[in-house]
């Protein structure tokens, strides 16, 4: 039991996070009433006329709604899986390298892209996968016809997911590195004396030891199941990949800020939140049942 006086520090440390939550997540929430109104900015949110479920009715009539929900889930789910497995494998592999200078250098290099904004990385991707870009030059050297990756509806989600993983895996691996260093070295020493091979030590000691961390990260990332990444998709997409690349957030952007359909845009956004809430609740229950992990 932590003494009360000491626990105070934790509460103080909680304040910035709480403030962030209140100002950026709770406070804007009152805006959802716009989904039930014909929002007129001049009248303000409260005085705009109510129109009931009109916006929702229209939303469900639209073919678009199904497509953008599907695209969002596909992209977000693939990102979630990829962003869990790739950093994990990377951390395990790098952990086996004994040269500290090398591991430090690699770590620093791979987490750098995390700090670049999507506007920059997106621009780089457009260049790299351009018709005359490096990737197509490589393909044509192997005798393959150039491919327009960014106009190819099948390739686009893979490109989005791939570039997101490339950008984030180094940063995501940091937590795994931390978990790896906290494994008691005595276990490895004991195993070595008992004659366990490198591979056996990895399977029997390292992986079981960082499993709880992996489960924790997986559960936490479930909250992002409907966030496919607005800024990334927005800088990379175009009309010919709408069928697989248009996500809820980009659609809401076009409807809300380009065409001023505030009500409809809010309705779609609200539906996203509702689905997100259900998914988080379910996954939390699952995490508790199977991994015995609880937040509350």
């Amino acid at each position: 039991m932590i003494p009360r006086s000491f626990a105070k520090h934790f509460y103080i440390m909680l304040i910035p996070g709480l403030l962030w939550l209140i100002f950026f997540n709770l406070y804007p929430m009152y805006g959802v009433v716009a989904a039930f109104k014909e929002y007129n900015p001049g009248l303000g949110l409260w005085r705009s006329p109510w129109i009931g479920l009109e916006n929702f009715k229209y939303m469900f009539e639209l073919d678009d709604s199904k497509i953008i929900f599907r695209n969002t889930v596909v992209i977000a789910f693939s990102k979630m899986i990829g962003n869990l497995i790739v950093p994990l494998v990377f951390a395990l592999m790098l952990n086996e390298v004994k040269n500290r200078l090398f591991t430090r250098t690699v770590q620093t290099i791979v987490y750098l892209p995390h700090f670049l904004s999507w506007v920059i990385v997106g621009g780089m991707m457009l260049d790299i996968f351009a018709y005359n870009g490096p990737v197509n030059s490589l393909l044509s050297a192997m005798g393959v016809e150039p491919i327009l990756f960014l106009a190819n509806a099948n390739a686009f989600p893979a490109l989005i997911v791939g570039s997101d993983i490339w950008k984030e895996f180094g940063f995501n691996a940091i937590i795994f590195f931390a978990a790896l260093t906290s494994i008691n070295p005595e276990m490895y020493e004991a195993a070595a004396i008992d004659g366990a091979s490198q591979w056996q030590r990895l399977i029997k000691i390292t992986i079981p030891s960082i499993m709880p961390v992996a489960a924790l990260l997986a559960t936490l990332s479930l909250g992002n199941i409907l966030n496919a990444g607005f800024d990334q998709v927005f800088t990379m997409y175009n009309p010919s990949v709408y069928s697989t690349g248009d996500i809820i957030d980009t659609w809401v952007y076009r409807a809300g800020l380009i065409d001023f359909q505030h009500g409809l845009a809010t309705a779609v956004g609200l539906l996203k939140s509702v689905v997100g809430l259900v998914l988080i609740t379910v996954s939390y229950t699952l995490a508790y049942r199977f991994a015995n992990y609880r937040i509350f």
Partner: protein, 566 residues
């Protein structure tokens, strides 16, 4: 959630900067203009006589939202908010311009304006487009400018609007004047071609679509722009294939002319042969145009990366391509290309023509508007700024600016204002002053002050022969401050003025009731289908599916509403 955060953050920034600006606005008292300019009008005694060019007695603050060109180089330490022009406004007229926020010109600026409207957090004044204007009128966010316009607008400003009939009516709703519209410079997309390449290959200038296709092919086959020569460039990522009724002036770097030469007018409402309204994108002509573009794309004439290219301007500047489409003023934007290759001789052509030999274009409808918030304390200052921008360029001003023509980067709330025939007049005056047919003093500097300014510099810049506008007959060094203006008017403007254009105007120029809710969806359907047809990722028959879907998902109802407008 990330999106919501993004939006909120942007709103917070806007709010914070607005608060910061209104916070130090000390002058609460309405500034009274001095009425010592005793013009002898026989107005009734009760009505005060107002000199539109008088100095405000107190510092009068106007907060604006401002579009900035990130690449623009100011003189010395000047910035957008504090430069030669704004200091002149402040010292001479006591008008203090404060920036509520700044955003890069183009999409960023439009996004910021839309965000300001949606969050009902608008600065005193800003420049908006037609959709935004209508949204603001509907939301009741704007000040009625009728009274201040009558009182404070200079006679010259009023003359300009009087010479452009219908312009002010277009922004008058229920008898209230809600904006100062730009006097749209007419624009039609022309075909810009590297004439130095044409000459090298011994090719004729294009007339038909066939000619244009052959020229593009010749450029590619002869590697005029290196191994990766691109035939015809146009739409870039985020851009549209053609202009439409909501952005009718948007002719730069897209493929409108290829549609027009097929008698197709996508994106606007036209009349079918029975006189009923029909949406141009759903017609047989548009299908033909798409079919042709699909073939051109497959054979490599059109940019392989159309619609996904990061920057069309980049390949034009680097000399990788010799053909693009753009309005006459595109000549202002080819400086990079000329800097990279001094031989780059871009010339516009009123081509391609349709089968009947006509040069078609849709007619521009809306452009930019200065709007004033209903909460603005000094709407009259905005009117005065608009008058000042164009007139009262006295000697003191000329010394201050060193003879440099101020651009939208120095002048806050920049709006193109001039008589309805300003471009024709300017081109004509420049030509005549060159040949000596007209003396500089004969140029009308009251109604066409800009033409007069340019005419004073044309002789130093244009070399003989005066009727040949190839780049080698211009002196780029003699008067750099005016070179781009003279070059754009003589090279681009003259071709446009001389062209015989068959105009088609959209029946609807703003969204109808049903469009407000359905347009996002219909536009998406159209953009996606058209781009895919051209790039060959779906069959041409997808067009017919598009038409029936478009009609059933609200298009029919919208067409009915538009039909009622005609």
């Amino acid at each position: 959630m990330k999106k919501a955060l993004f939006t909120t953050l942007a709103m917070v920034i806007v709010t914070a900067s607005l608060a910061a600006c209104s916070g130090n606005g000390g002058s609460t008292e309405t500034a009274k203009p001095s009425n010592n300019a005793g013009t002898s009008t026989n107005a009734p005694a009760v009505e005060e006589v107002i000199d539109p060019f008088a100095k405000f007695e107190q510092a009068t603050e106007v907060s604006i939202g401002r579009g900035i060109d990130p690449n623009y180089k100011y003189d010395g330490n000047d910035i957008a908010e504090d430069n030669v022009y704004t200091r002149w406004l402040k010292d001479k007229y006591n008008i203090v311009v404060k920036h509520a926020w700044e955003a890069a010109q183009g999409d960023d600026y439009q996004q910021k304006v839309s965000l300001a409207i949606s969050s009902n957090d608008i600065p005193d004044a800003m420049v908006v487009n037609e959709t935004q204007l209508r949204q603001m009128v509907k939301a009741g966010q704007l000040a009625d400018l009728k009274e201040v316009y009558d009182k404070y607008a200079s006679p010259e400003l009023k003359a300009v609007y009087d010479s452009n009939p219908g312009l002010l009516d277009g922004v008058t709703f229920d008898g209230k004047l809600y904006a100062l519209p730009e006097t749209t410079l007419p624009s039609a997309p022309m075909t810009w071609i590297r004439k130095d390449w044409l000459d090298k290959l011994g090719l004729e200038e294009p007339k038909s679509l066939q000619d244009l296709g052959n020229i593009a092919k010749a450029f590619i086959d002869n590697k005029m722009g290196g191994d990766n020569t691109i035939g015809i460039v146009g739409t870039q990522q985020g851009g549209s294939l053609s202009s439409n009724f909501l952005a009718s002036t948007d002719h730069w770097y897209n493929f409108s002319p290829l549609f027009f030469a097929n008698d197709a007018y996508p994106g606007i409402w036209v009349k079918d042969k029975d006189g009923n309204a029909v949406y141009g994108s759903t017609t047989e002509e548009t299908k033909n145009a798409l079919s042709m573009m699909r073939d051109w794309y497959a054979s490599g004439i059109l940019d392989k990366e159309l619609g996904i290219r990061k920057s069309t301007a980049e390949v034009v500047a680097s000399g990788q391509t010799g053909i693009f489409f753009g309005p006459w003023w595109a000549a202002y934007n080819i400086g990079d290309s000329m800097a990279n290759d001094p031989n780059a001789n871009w010339r516009p052509y009123a081509a391609p023509l349709n089968d009947a030999g006509q040069f078609n274009s849709n007619q521009a409808t809306g452009s930019s508007y200065i709007v004033v918030s209903k909460n603005a304390k000094h709407p009259e200052a905005v009117i005065k700024m608009t008058s000042l921008h164009k007139w009262t360029k006295d000697e003191e001003y000329k010394t201050l600016t060193n003879g440099k023509e101020m651009t939208s980067q120095e002048v806050p709330l920049f709006l193109i204002l001039g008589a309805g025939d300003q471009l024709e007049y300017a081109v004509d005056a420049l030509r005549k002053v060159l040949t000596g047919e007209m003396k500089l003093d004969d140029v009308d500097d009251i109604n066409y002050s800009w033409a007069y300014e340019m005419a004073g510099h044309v002789q130093a810049i244009k070399k003989e022969p005066f009727d040949n506008y190839d780049i080698q007959y211009f002196d780029q060094k003699a008067d750099p401050g005016f070179f781009s203006h003279i070059y754009a008017h003589l090279n681009g403007g003259s071709t446009f003025v001389d062209a015989d254009i068959n105009w088609t105007r959209s029946i609807a120029t703003a969204q109808t009731k049903t469009m407000e809710s359905r347009w996002t969806n219909l536009k998406k359907l159209e953009d996606e289908t058209f781009l895919k047809i051209i790039m060959g990722s779906v069959e041409l028959s997808a067009f017919d599916e598009f038409v029936s879907k478009w009609k059933s998902q609200g298009g029919d109802k919208i067409t009915e509403e538009v039909d009622a407008l005609k």
